[in-house]
């Protein structure tokens, strides 16, 4: 079945350093979504990318959707302690069944 893989599993950074997480799908996606889950919290929607090669920015966060619509990345510039949490990518299979990756857990040291 369709799989959504994320790397790395964990990332430790010093506050102010940049962070990137990568998402790869075994099949072409119609769109890809990114979610953030704070420790002890629930996933919160960040953004959805739909177009091939699309790039979107939210303040210090930059999201990219690959040309083949099978991969995506999330880049955070100058991390802050408030960025701590797990970042998930998610993609829909046929019929809008949304599959989540295993997530990348970000640790930020002040």
């Amino acid at each position: 079945g369709q799989q959504v893989m994320q790397i790395p599993q964990y990332q430790h950074v010093q506050e102010g350093e940049d962070f990137t997480t990568y998402c790869n799908s075994s099949t072409t996606l119609s769109n890809i979504q990114w979610y953030k889950q704070r420790p002890g919290g629930h996933p919160v929607f960040l953004i959805q990318l739909v177009k091939s090669g699309e790039v979107k920015k939210q303040k210090r966060l930059t999201f990219q959707f690959g040309e083949a619509k099978k991969n995506s990345s999330l880049h955070i510039t100058a991390t802050q302690t408030t960025d701590v949490g797990t970042y998930f990518c998610a993609g829909p299979t046929g019929g809008f069944k949304t599959i989540f990756g295993a997530g990348t857990r970000l640790f930020v040291k002040a």
């Binding site: 979610y35 629930h42 929607f45 829909p92 989540f100």
Partner: protein, 118 residues
Amino acid sequence: EAGVAQSPRYKIIEKRQSVAFWCNPISGHATLYWYQQILGQGPKLLIQFQNNGVVDDSQLPKDRFSAERLKGVDSTLKIQPAKLEDSAVYLCASSPRTSGGASTGELFFGEGSRLTVL
């Protein structure tokens, strides 16, 4: 706008007992999902409803799990009998319907129900 409501927030039971979780989605959201999230893992889809019909339940362990969404609004997920490996957070999510009838795919999650099976 009220968010997705779930209860109970926490539940501790012994193996072989039963448990039920309740979810009330955001008003007007046609699609409702139940996900299981084991500690350190991503959410795993158990069942997806469109109104009161099941869209996908391929990963629902039907010998012990059941879910219903009567009247196309709130939903209940039941586990009977529970096993140790069912210890997880059960997340309910909903998504709005586009003008064309299809879900936008953007999911709004509730706070979750944390189940511990002893």
